[in-house]
C-alpha cells in the first residue's frame, strides 16, 4: 500500500467479514443438524441425509439464520477523535427472516468528561427478509475509544454481536472530504501537503445526517453534479455549513454542471462559461494565484460574497458565508493541465483550505444542579409539577368539614348515629377522592421537560441555539425525547453527587431525527445541553457613532419578541415587544465610553443585568443564573459590549415528548452581543 493510498483512506481494506453463529439457532448446518438431532435408524442412510438437505433448501424458514455484520467506520475508515462519525453497517441474512433491532453500544462520559463512564446505545429496528442484505446508516458519538464499540443484532430468536476496536481508525485532526465524479482531480496532489486526512468519497457516500459531518473541516466539490443528492443529504449539508462547515467548490471544464440549481445555490457566483486565462498574481497575491498561462477557468458573475482574487477582470476566488460556515469558490480547473502539472499545486490548495479558525464561541450559558435547584425552589415553578392549589383546597375543605361535623355533634342538630356515619363517610370519601385526584388523575404530570434556549444571532438569518434541558420525573418510567432536525450535540450534564448514570438509548431513523430514550426513577432528574443550528431571520445591526449607538432591528421571523431590552455599559433601555414583521432603527446614547479618564472612579464599562427583572419568575431565574451568569464567562459583555435580547413568544419546540402525561415548558431568548469600541480602539 502506498503512502498516498493510505492517506486517502482508499487503501484501507473493508473490515474483515465475520460470520457469526447466532445464539438462538437450533442447528447451523446440515452437519450440525445431523449431530444434534437424534436420528431414528432409517435416517442414518445417505439418501435420508440428502433428503433433509433438500427439504431445508426448499423451505428457508427452516434454515439456520446466519447474520453477517459488516461495518464501515467513518469516512473510508477515518474519523476525527471526539466528534460524531458515520457508521454504515451492512447486515446480510442468509437464513430465515429476522425481525429485530440493531444496537450499537458506545461509551460516554469518563475522565475527559468529568464523570463516570456509561454506555449509550443507538438502536434501529430492522427487518431482514430471508436471503437478503440491508444497509443501515447511523451516526455515533463515543466520548472515548479505549473501550470497544459493540454492534449487536437482537431479535426474539437470534442474537449476533461483534466488538470493534476504534483505535485503529481515528485521526486527531478533522477530516477533509473530496467529492469528485470522474476522479479527474488527483487527490494525491491535493492531499500531500495537508495536515488533515483527505478522503475521497462518491456523492452517495456523503452522510444524510449533519452530525456525521461534524468531524469534517472542509468538503471539496470538484466536477461533481449534485443532481443525485437526496433531500436528506442536502439538508445535512446545509445544516453542517450553517453550523460552521467549510465548502470549497472547485471549477472544472465541465461548466454546465455548475449551472445546475442543485450546486448553483451554494455558489457565490453565477457561472457563465469557460475560457483560458493567464494568471499573473499582483503584489501580495503570490500565494493566492499561480503565475501560469493558459489555465482553464470558469467565467462567472459575482452574486454574493467577497472576491479574494481575480484574473483578467473575472473572479477567481470568491468567498461567501452561510450561517457560521463559509463557501469558497475557485474558478480554476486544477484537475487539468497545465495547473494539474504545476509543482506548486499542493501548496496552492493548502492555502485554499485554510484551517478552520478557533470557533468564536458565544458565552456559554450556565446549566448545572445549582441553577436547577433555584428553579425548583421557585414557588411559581412548583405549581408546574405539583397540585398546590388543589391540595390547599382539599386541606381547607377537609378541616372545614370536620369542624362542621364537630359543631353539629356538639349542638346535637342531628342524631349522633347519623353524625358518626357522616364522619366516617366524609373521611373515607375525602381519602379516596384525594387519592384519585392526586395519584391517578388531577394535575400531576408524570414528568416535566423544561427547555431553556438562547439563540445567538449568527449571520444570514441563522442562529445557533444553545438549549439547556431539564427532564424531571415524578414516576419510575422511560421518557422518549424527540429531537428535531438540526441538532448537533447532546451533552448530559454530569453531576458530581450523582451515582453512576444509567445507560441511555438513542433511536435513529433514516430521516435524521432522533429519539433519546431515558429511564428515570421517581423524583429523579437529568440535565442536558443541546446545540442546534436553525433559521431565525431576525436581524439586529449595531453601529457605534460617537457617543451614540444606532440600532436597526428587523424581525422577519414568524415569532414575536416580547420583553426586549438593549443593555449597554451604564445604560439599559426597555424596548417592549417587537412583533413579527416589525423593523425599526433607533439611536441610543451611550455612557462615557470615550472618556473614561474623566470619570476614573466609575465602572461604566461593564454591563449590569442585576436590575433587569421579569414578571415571570422562571424567566428571571433563567436570565440571571443561566443566560447571563455572573462568572468568568461574563467577561465578554462586561468588557464593553452592547447586548440586545428579547424573549421569543411561543417558541418552536426543538425537543419534545409527545405524551399528555409530560408537561413541556419552553423558554427561548434571542440575544445579540456586540463589542463596543473603546477610546483606544478608535
Amino acid at each position: 500500500m502506498s503512502f498516498s493510498d493510505e492517506k486517502l483512506g482508499r487503501g484501507l481494506a473493508p473490515a474483515p467479514r465475520f460470520i457469526l453463529q447466532t445464539a438462538g439457532a437450533r442447528f447451523s448446518s446440515a452437519g450440525s443438524f445431523a449431530k444434534r438431532y437424534t436420528c431414528p435408524r432409517q435416517f442414518h442412510r445417505p439418501w435420508s441425509f440428502w433428503f433433509v438437505g433438500f427439504f431445508i433448501c426448499l423451505f428457508p424458514s427452516f434454515c439456520p439464520a446466519e447474520i453477517l455484520i459488516e461495518p464501515r467506520i467513518g469516512f473510508h475508515g477515518v474519523f476525527q477523535l471526539g466528534r460524531p462519525f458515520p457508521l454504515e453497517i451492512q447486515l446480510s441474512n442468509s437464513g430465515r427472516p429476522a425481525d429485530g433491532t440493531l444496537e450499537i453500544a458506545v461509551w460516554k462520559g469518563g475522565a475527559t468528561k468529568g464523570g463516570a463512564p456509561y454506555a449509550l446505545f443507538y438502536r434501529r429496528d430492522v427487518f431482514l427478509s430471508a436471503q437478503s442484505r440491508k444497509l443501515v446508516q447511523l451516526t455515533v458519538d463515543p466520548d472515548f475509544i479505549s473501550r470497544p464499540l459493540k454492534i449487536t443484532f437482537l431479535s426474539p430468536t437470534e442474537t449476533v454481536s461483534r466488538e470493534f476496536d476504534l483505535r485503529r481508525y481515528f485521526s486527531p485532526a478533522p477530516v477533509i472530504l473530496l467529492v469528485s465524479e470522474g476522479n479527474t482531480i488527483l487527490p494525491v496532489s491535493v492531499g500531500a501537503s495537508l495536515s488533515s486526512r483527505l478522503v475521497a468519497l462518491s456523492l452517495a457516500e456523503l452522510p444524510a445526517d449533519p452530525r456525521a459531518l461534524l468531524g469534517v473541516s472542509h468538503l471539496i466539490l470538484y466536477d461533481q453534479s449534485l443532481r443525485d443528492f437526496s433531500r436528506s443529504q442536502q439538508l445535512a449539508l446545509d445544516a453542517w455549513l450553517t453550523a460552521g462547515g467549510r465548502l470549497v467548490i472547485v471549477g472544472s471544464l465541465n461548466y454546465p454542471l455548475y449551472q445546475e440549481p442543485s450546486i448553483s445555490r451554494f455558489l457565490p457566483v453565477r457561472v457563465t462559461g469557460i475560457k483560458r486565462v493567464s494568471l499573473s498574481p499582483g503584489p501580495g497575491q503570490s500565494e493566492r494565484l499561480p503565475p501560469i498561462a493558459n489555465v482553464w477557468a470558469q467565467t462567472s458573475n459575482v452574486v454574493a460574497g467577497k472576491v479574494l482574487a481575480e484574473a483578467q477582470g473575472m473572479p477567481v476566488i470568491v468567498e461567501t458565508s452561510r450561517g457560521k460556515g463559509r463557501i469558497t469558490y475557485l474558478s480554476l480547473d486544477i484537475g487539468r493541465p497545465p495547473l494539474s502539472q504545476w509543482d506548486g499545486l499542493p501548496r496552492f490548495v493548502q492555502n485554499l483550505l485554510t484551517p478552520v479558525e478557533a470557533e468564536d464561541l458565544s458565552p456559554r450559558t450556565r446549566w448545572d444542579d445549582a441553577v436547577f435547584s433555584q428553579l425548583i425552589l421557585s414557588p411559581s415553578f412548583i405549581s408546574a409539577y405539583l397540585p398546590t392549589g388543589s391540595l390547599f383546597a382539599a386541606i381547607v375543605g377537609y378541616l372545614i368539614g370536620i369542624g362542621a361535623l364537630a359543631w353539629l355533634w356538639q349542638f346535637q342538630r342531628f342524631p349522633r348515629r347519623v353524625l358518626v356515619i357522616s364522619l366516617i363517610s366524609f373521611v373515607v370519601l375525602s381519602t379516596v377522592g384525594g387519592y384519585l385526584v392526586f395519584g391517578r388523575g388531577g394535575n400531576i404530570p408524570d414528568g416535566v421537560l423544561l427547555s431553556s434556549t438562547v439563540m445567538e444571532s449568527s449571520a444570514d438569518g441563522y442562529v445557533e441555539a444553545q438549549s439547556n434541558l431539564a427532564m424531571f420525573s415524578t414516576q419510575i418510567r422511560e421518557y422518549s425525547l424527540q429531537l428535531e432536525r438540526g441538532w448537533m450535540d447532546l451533552i448530559p450534564v454530569s453531576s458530581s453527587s450523582r451515582e453512576r448514570p444509567q445507560p441511555a438509548v438513542v433511536f435513529q431513523d433514516g430521516s435524521g431525527s432522533s429519539r433519546f430514550q431515558l429511564p428515570l426513577r421517581e423524583w429523579d432528574y437529568r440535565l442536558f445541553r443541546i446545540r442546534f443550528v436553525d433559521r431565525f431571520p431576525l436581524r439586529a445591526e449595531f453601529e457605534q457613532q460617537g457617543g451614540k449607538l444606532r440600532v436597526r432591528l428587523s424581525n422577519l421571523s414568524a415569532k414575536d419578541l416580547v420583553d426586549c431590552w438593549l443593555v449597554a455599559p451604564g445604560r439599559r433601555y426597555a424596548l417592549g415587544d417587537i412583533p413579527r414583521g416589525a423593523s425599526w432603527a433607533k439611536e441610543f446614547p451611550l455612557a462615557d465610553l470615550e472618556a473614561p479618564e474623566r470619570s476614573p472612579g466609575r465602572r461604566s464599562e461593564s454591563v449590569d443585568f442585576r436590575e433587569i427583572s421579569f414578571k415571570d419568575k422562571t424567566r428571571e431565574i433563567l436570565f440571571h443564573s443561566s443566560f447571563f451568569p455572573r462568572d468568568e464567562a461574563s467577561t465578554r459583555w462586561s468588557a464593553g459590549a452592547a447586548i440586545f435580547f428579547g424573549w421569543v413568544k411561543d417558541p418552536d419546540r426543538r425537543v419534545a415528548i409527545e405524551d399528555p402525561r409530560i408537561r413541556n415548558y419552553d423558554y427561548t431568548l434571542f440575544r445579540a452581543i456586540i463589542p463596543l469600541a473603546g477610546p483606544e480602539d478608535e
Partner: protein, 248 residues
C-alpha cells in the same frame, strides 16, 4: 367491653361532652400546614429533589410524633383531668378489679389512637399519592403508626396508675419518656428510633444490623422486638401499678 364503666366514662367525657375535641384539633391543625408547606421546601438531594418527594415522609413523621405525644397525654389524663373519676375510687367504691380497670383504659386508649390516625388518614393518603409512595408502604406506615402510638402510650397509663395524685410528676415523666424514646434514642442506636426506622423504610434504605458477640440481627427485627418489649413492659408495669394501688 361496652359496659365497662371506665370506657363509658372516658367516651362520655371525650366525645359526648367534647372535652377531647381539643386533642384532635391540635392534631389536625399542626398536620395540615406541615403537609402543605413542606411542598414549598424543596431541595436537591444526591439523586432527587426533596420537598414533594419527601411529602409523605414528612407527613408520616409528623403524624407519628403527634399521635405518640398526644396519646401519651390522653393516657395520662391531661385533658379534662378534673372530669375523670380517680382509679382508686373505681376500685374501692365501685369494686372494679385490676383487669376491668385496665381493660377499660386500654380500650379507650386504643379507640383514641385509632380515631386519631383515622382523622389523619386523608392527609397521609394524599401525601402518598403526590409523593408517588407505593400503596403497600403507605399501608405499612399506618400500621407502624398504630403500633408506635399503642406501645408508647401504655406508659402514660402506667404513670397515671402510679402517680395519680401527682400530676406534675406524671407530666414531667411522660415528656422525658417521649423525648428519650422518640428523639434521643437515635443517638445511641439508630434502628431503635421510630423516626429513623420510618424514614429508612420509606426511603428504601437498609439500617445497620445489630452485631453482638459475632452474630448479627437485622435492624427490622431489633426495632420490632424493642418496641414489643417497650409495650409489654409498659403493660406489665401498668398492671403492677394498678395492683399496688389496690393493695395500698
Amino acid at each position: 367491653m361496652r359496659n365497662n364503666p371506665l370506657l363509658r366514662e372516658s367516651v362520655e367525657i371525650f366525645f359526648f361532652e367534647g372535652h377531647g375535641f381539643a386533642v384532635y384539633f391540635y392534631l389536625l391543625i399542626i398536620l395540615a400546614p406541615v403537609a402543605f408547606l413542606s411542598l414549598y421546601l424543596p431541595s436537591l438531594d444526591t439523586q432527587m429533589w426533596s420537598g414533594s418527594a419527601n411529602l409523605f415522609k414528612v407527613c408520616a413523621v409528623t403524624t407519628l410524633l403527634l399521635t405518640v405525644y398526644l396519646a401519651l397525654r390522653v393516657a395520662n389524663q391531661e385533658f379534662a383531668s378534673w372530669r375523670f373519676k380517680p382509679i382508686k375510687r373505681w376500685m374501692r367504691e365501685d369494686g372494679l378489679g385490676v383487669s376491668a380497670v385496665s381493660q377499660g383504659q386500654l380500650a379507650f386508649l386504643s379507640l383514641h389512637v385509632v380515631f386519631s390516625i383515622f382523622l389523619c388518614v386523608p392527609f397521609l393518603i394524599w401525601a402518598g399519592a403526590i409523593a408517588r409512595t407505593p400503596f403497600q408502604r403507605v399501608a405499612v406506615t399506618l400500621l407502624l403508626l398504630l403500633f408506635y402510638a399503642l406501645s408508647y402510650s401504655i406508659w402514660g397509663l402506667f404513670t397515671l396508675a402510679l402517680w395519680e395524685r401527682r400530676a406534675e410528676t406524671r407530666q414531667v415523666f411522660i415528656r422525658c419518656l417521649f423525648f428519650c424514646l422518640v428523639v434521643f434514642s437515635a443517638l445511641f442506636y439508630l434502628p431503635v428510633n421510630p423516626v429513623a426506622f420510618l424514614l429508612a423504610y420509606l426511603g428504601r434504605q437498609e439500617l445497620m444490623p445489630l452485631s453482638m458477640a459475632g452474630w448479627k440481627v437485622s435492624a427490622g427485627i431489633v426495632h420490632v422486638t424493642f418496641h414489643l418489649l417497650i409495650g409489654i413492659t409498659g403493660l406489665a408495669a401498668y398492671r403492677w401499678a394498678l395492683k399496688k394501688d389496690l393493695a395500698v
